[in-house]
C-alpha cells in the first residue's frame, strides 16, 4: 500500500526546503554554483554535520546538549597539545576521548541524578570553556607546528573532495545504521518517544539516555579535531555558538524536541540548510547583522511549521 503523496512529501519537507533554497540562490547569483563556492559549502558543512549527528542521538533520546561548542574547543586544543608529543593518532584519540568524557559527565548528571538537561549542559558549556582557557592559558596551541600529515588532513583532497568532507560521509552511514538497524538504536527512539512506556517495556532508559550524551560528546570531540586540522592549531575560542547552530540544524531536519523523532540524514540536511542560507546571504551581500535576523527567523519558522503539521 502506498502512503498518500501528501504524507510522503511532508516527511521530505527539509529536503524540499534545501532544494528550493539552492534553486532560488542559483537564480539570484551565478557565483553560487561555482566549484569554489560549492567546495566551500561542503567544507563548512562537514564539521557542523559531525556535531549535528551526535546531537541527533541526544535529541531523539529526548534530551538536549548545549556543551558541544565548548567541547569542540577542548578537543581541538587537547589534540593539538598531544600531537607534537605522541603523534597524530594519539592526538585524534585524545581529542575524541576528551569529548566522550564531557558526554559521560553530562549523561551521568542527567540520567542518573535526574538534573534537567538544559541546566546541566548550560553548566558544562561554561565549565568546559573555562577548563580550555586554563589549560591553554588563553593562547592558541600549535605554534611549534603540528605534524604535516595532520595539516594535510585539514587541507588536502581525496578524489577531488576534501578529507574533511569524507569524515561525515563515512560517519553518516555508520550512525544511520546504528540508529535504524540495531536494537540499541531502536531503544533510543523508544526512550525519547515515551520514557515511561519504554521503561515498562524493559528498556534500560537511564543507560540509554547517558549513552546518547557520550555519542554527542565524542562526535563533538571529533569535530573539534577536524576544526583544529582546518585552523592548523587548537583555538581556545573555537566553536562558540556551534551548539545553537547544531540544535537548530537538527530541528530544521524535522527532529522533535520532545524526542523520539529525527534521523541523522535529515539532521545533515538541516546543516546544509543553515550553511547554504548563510552562504546565500553572503553572496547576496546582505548585511551581517541582518543575516542573524534572517537565520533566527528561519529557525522559528521551521519549528512553527512542525507544530502546525502535527496538529
Amino acid at each position: 500500500m502506498q502512503r498518500p503523496l501528501r504524507a510522503r512529501l511532508a516527511g521530505q519537507a527539509p529536503l524540499l526546503t534545501l532544494i528550493l533554497l539552492c534553486a532560488v540562490t542559483a537564480l539570484l547569483t551565478d557565483r553560487f554554483l561555482s566549484p569554489f563556492n560549492l567546495t566551500n559549502i561542503l567544507v563548512q558543512s562537514s564539521i557542523m554535520a559531525v556535531i549535528a549527528m551526535g546531537m541527533t542521538f541526544v535529541i531523539v533520546g529526548g534530551g538536549f546538549d548545549l556543551s558541544v561548542g565548548s567541547t569542540v574547543a577542548l578537543s581541538g586544543c587537547i589534540a593539538a597539545m598531544l600531537m607534537p608529543v605522541g603523534g597524530v593518532a594519539l592526538g585524534v584519540l585524545g581529542g575524541v576521548a576528551a569529548g566522550a568524557l564531557v558526554g559521560l559527565a553530562n549523561g551521568f548528571i542527567i540520567a542518573m541524578l535526574g538534573v534537567n538537561p538544559f541546566i546541566t549542559t548550560l553548566g558544562t558549556m561554561v565549565l568546559v570553556r573555562g577548563v580550555v582557557f586554563i589549560i591553554t592559558g588563553g593562547a592558541p596551541i600549535g605554534d611549534e607546528g603540528l605534524p604535516p600529515a595532520f595539516i594535510a588532513f585539514g587541507s588536502q583532497r581525496l578524489f577531488g573532495v576534501h578529507y574533511l568532507v569524507w569524515v561525515p560521509v563515512g560517519l553518516l552511514a555508520t550512525v544511520t545504521y546504528i540508529m535504524h538497524s540495531t536494537p540499541y538504536g531502536r531503544r533510543v527512539y523508544a526512550t525519547g518517544g515515551g520514557r515511561e512506556a519504554a521503561y515498562l517495556s524493559g528498556v534500560p532508559v537511564r543507560r540509554v539516555i547517558a549513552s546518547t550524551y557520550i555519542w554527542c560528546g565524542a562526535l563533538a570531540g571529533l569535530a573539534g579535531v577536524m576544526l583544529a586540522a582546518r585552523l592548523q592549531s587548537g583555538q581556545p575560542t573555537a566553536g562558540e555558538f556551534y551548539e545553537l547552530t547544531a540544535i537548530a540544524a537538527v530541528v530544521l531536519g524535522g527532529a522533535s524536541l520532545h524526542g523520539g523523532e529525527g534521523t541523522p540524514a535529515k539532521s545533515v540536511i538541516g546543516v546544509f540548510i543553515m550553511v547554504v542560507l548563510g552562504n546565500a546571504l553572503n553572496l547576496l551581500n546582505v548585511d551581517s547583522y541582518w543575516q542573524r535576523v534572517a537565520v533566527g527567523a528561519v529557525i522559528i519558522a521551521a519549528a512553527a511549521a512542525d507544530r502546525l503539521r502535527s496538529r
Partner: protein, 493 residues
C-alpha cells in the same frame, strides 16, 4: 426537604452525546432540586462522566438542553458553567500545590484593591478573611498559608469545596468523592454535605459505593448504556437493588469450554508480604478493590515498578523483581491502565510490538528486520489489529486496537504471565469482547493477574477474585461463588 413545587436547580432534557460512532448518552433526562442530594450510579461506560462533564461545560451535548434555575444555558467552556453556579469536585483535585490554602481558594478571582484607584493589587488581608470564613462554614481551620501540596487528600477536597462555596456555587457535583477517603474523613465530608444541603445547594453525587448512596441520597438515578435505567426516591432502593438495576440482568457468561483445572504454582510471593499473591498455571486471578485498596500496588511490585525487598518464586525459582527489565526476564508482561504508559504513542505499531523483544530478533549479530516484520505481521493477523499496516503510528489507532498492540508486545516476547490493569477501560463493547477472547486464549497456556474496577468483567473472566482492603486480601471468592453483588459486598462498596 424537597418541595415538589420548587423549580429544579439544574436539569438536563433529552441529552444525546456521541463520541465518534459510540453513543455515550442516548437521550437522558436528569434534574436536581435545591437542597437535594441526587445520586448518579452506573457501571463504567454507562455515561455518568459524560453527563457531569456536560453539566460542567467540558462537553457540549449533540442534542438536548441544560437548564439552570429554569433558564436554558449553553456552556461554551468550564468557566461558563462555573459562572452559572455549577462546580465539579473531580477525582483528581486541581489545586496549585505550591500556593497557600487561602490563595488557592481565591485563585482565578482574587479580591483586588486599587492603589490610587487605578493600579490593581491583590488584597491579601481580605483574601485570608474570605478563606477563613468559607472554611469555617465547613468546620475546617487549616493553616491558611500552608501550601496545598502539604495537605492530605481529604483536606484538599475540603479546600476545593470551600473554593466552590466562595464562588456562590448553587449546584455541586462530586465525582467519587470518597474513593480515597478513610471512614473518619468520609463522616466529616458527609457532615459538610448535610450543611450545604441546608443552605439549599443542589448536590449531584457520583459513587461506586452503593452503601453510601443509600445512606446519603434523596433520589437516585441509574444509568445504563447511556440511558436512564431507573429513578428511585429515598427509601425505595437498597444496595442490592441498585446493583441489579445497574447491570440490568445482563449476563454474558464466559463460553466455559469445560472448567480448566489450574496447574502448578507459577508465582508465589512470600507469605509475610501483605496481600501476597499465589498464582497457578492457566489461572486467571482477579483483583478487586476500591481506590486506595492497594490492588494497583500489587501489579506495580510484581512488575518491579515499585519493587519490594525479598524474592518472589517464579516457577519455583526465587527472583528479585527489582525493575521492569527483571520482571520481563522472568516471563512477566504488563498492560498498564494508561495506554500512554503501555505504548510509545508517536512510534509505529511495528516498533511498539518489537520493543520488549529487540534483543531476541538478532540474526548473525545484527537486528533481524525481516524476522521481526514476519512476527509483527503474524500477530497483527491473529489479534486483528486494524488497519493492518505495521508502520501506522499507534496514536492513530482506536483505543481497542491500541490495547491489542500492547497485548501483541507481550505475545511477541512470549511471556507466561500477564499483569493487566483495567484492560478494557474506555474501550467499546465489540473490542472489549475481542480482548476478552484473546485473554482466554492466552490463559490456556499462561496465567493472568487482572485488576479491574469493572466488576462484571472480573466475574466474566476470572477463575477466582481477591477482594482487597487496605493492602490486604479481605476475601478470596472462587468462580463458583462469583457474582457482582457478592464482589460489591466483599470490597466494601
Amino acid at each position: 426537604m424537597v418541595d415538589a413545587n420548587t423549580r429544579p436547580a439544574a436539569s438536563a432534557k433529552g441529552i444525546v452525546k456521541h463520541f465518534g460512532a459510540t453513543a455515550a448518552l442516548a437521550g437522558v433526562d436528569f434534574d436536581v432540586m435545591p437542597g437535594e442530594v441526587h445520586a448518579l450510579v452506573g457501571e463504567n461506560g454507562a455515561g455518568k462522566s459524560t453527563l457531569i462533564r456536560i453539566f460542567a461545560g467540558v462537553h457540549r451535548p449533540d442534542r438536548g438542553t441544560i437548564e439552570v434555575e429554569g433558564r436554558p444555558c449553553q456552556f461554551d467552556g468550564p468557566q461558563a458553567a462555573i459562572a452559572a453556579g455549577i462546580v465539579t469536585i473531580p477525582q483528581e483535585l486541581r489545586l496549585v500545590p505550591a500556593l497557600g490554602v487561602a490563595e488557592n481558594i481565591s485563585v482565578g478571582d482574587p479580591p483586588v484593591r486599587r492603589f490610587l484607584g487605578v493600579i490593581p493589587r491583590i488584597d491579601r488581608a481580605r483574601m485570608r478573611e474570605d478563606a477563613r470564613q468559607t472554611l469555617a462554614q465547613l468546620d475546617f481551620a487549616p493553616d491558611l498559608d500552608a501550601p496545598a501540596g502539604s495537605l492530605s487528600f481529604a483536606e484538599r477536597q475540603l479546600v476545593m469545596i470551600a473554593k466552590a462555596l466562595r464562588r456562590r456555587c448553587r449546584i455541586l457535583i462530586l465525582d467519587e468523592p470518597t474513593a480515597a477517603l478513610e471512614k473518619r474523613e468520609i463522616d466529616r465530608l458527609f457532615a459538610v454535605l448535610a450543611r450545604m444541603k441546608e443552605q439549599g445547594v443542589a448536590i449531584i453525587y457520583i459513587s461506586h459505593r452503593l452503601g453510601e448512596v443509600v445512606a446519603l441520597a434523596d433520589r437516585c438515578t441509574i444509568l445504563r448504556d447511556g440511558r436512564v435505567a431507573a429513578v428511585a426516591q429515598r427509601g425505595a432502593f437498597d444496595a442490592a437493588r441498585l446493583a441489579r438495576a445497574m447491570t440490568g440482568g445482563f449476563e454474558e457468561r464466559a463460553s466455559s469450554s469445560g472448567v480448566v483445572q489450574p496447574g502448578t504454582t507459577v508465582l508465589q510471593e512470600p507469605a509475610e508480604r501483605p496481600g501476597a499473591i499465589c498464582l497457578r498455571a492457566q489461572e486467571t486471578l482477579g483483583l478487586a478493590g476500591l481506590l486506595g485498596s492497594g490492588t494497583d500496588r500489587v501489579l506495580a511490585r510484581l512488575f518491579g515498578v515499585q519493587p519490594e525487598p525479598g524474592t518472589v518464586a517464579i516457577n519455583g525459582v526465587p527472583r528479585r523483581l527489582a525493575n521492569p527489565r527483571a520482571a520481563i526476564a522472568a516471563g512477566i508482561g504488563m498492560v498498564p491502565a494508561e495506554r500512554s504508559l503501555g505504548l510509545i504513542m508517536n512510534a509505529s505499531v511495528r516498533d511498539n510490538i518489537v520493543l520488549p523483544s529487540l534483543g531476541r530478533f538478532i540474526h548473525r549479530g545484527r537486528f533481524d528486520k525481516a524476522g521481526a516484520a514476519r512476527a509483527v505481521n503474524e500477530l497483527m493477523d491473529v489479534l486483528d489489529i486494524r488497519p493492518r499496516r505495521a508502520d501506522t503510528k499507534v496514536s492513530a489507532l482506536s483505543g481497542g486496537n491500541q490495547q491489542k498492540v500492547v497485548l501483541a508486545k507481550w505475545l511477541a516476547r512470549g511471556v507466561s504471565l500477564l499483569l493487566l490493569d483495567e484492560p478494557t477501560q474506555g474501550i467499546d463493547v465489540a473490542a472489549k469482547a475481542q480482548i476478552h477472547a484473546l485473554l482466554r486464549d492466552f490463559a490456556r497456556q499462561g496465567s493472568i493477574l487482572m485488576n479491574s474496577s469493572d466488576l462484571a468483567e472480573l466475574v466474566l473472566m476470572c477463575d477466582a477474585v481477591l477482594a482487597f482492603h487496605h493492602g490486604h486480601v479481605a476475601a478470596r471468592i472462587e468462580r463458583s461463588d462469583l457474582d457482582e453483588s457478592r464482589l460489591h459486598a466483599a470490597i466494601g462498596g
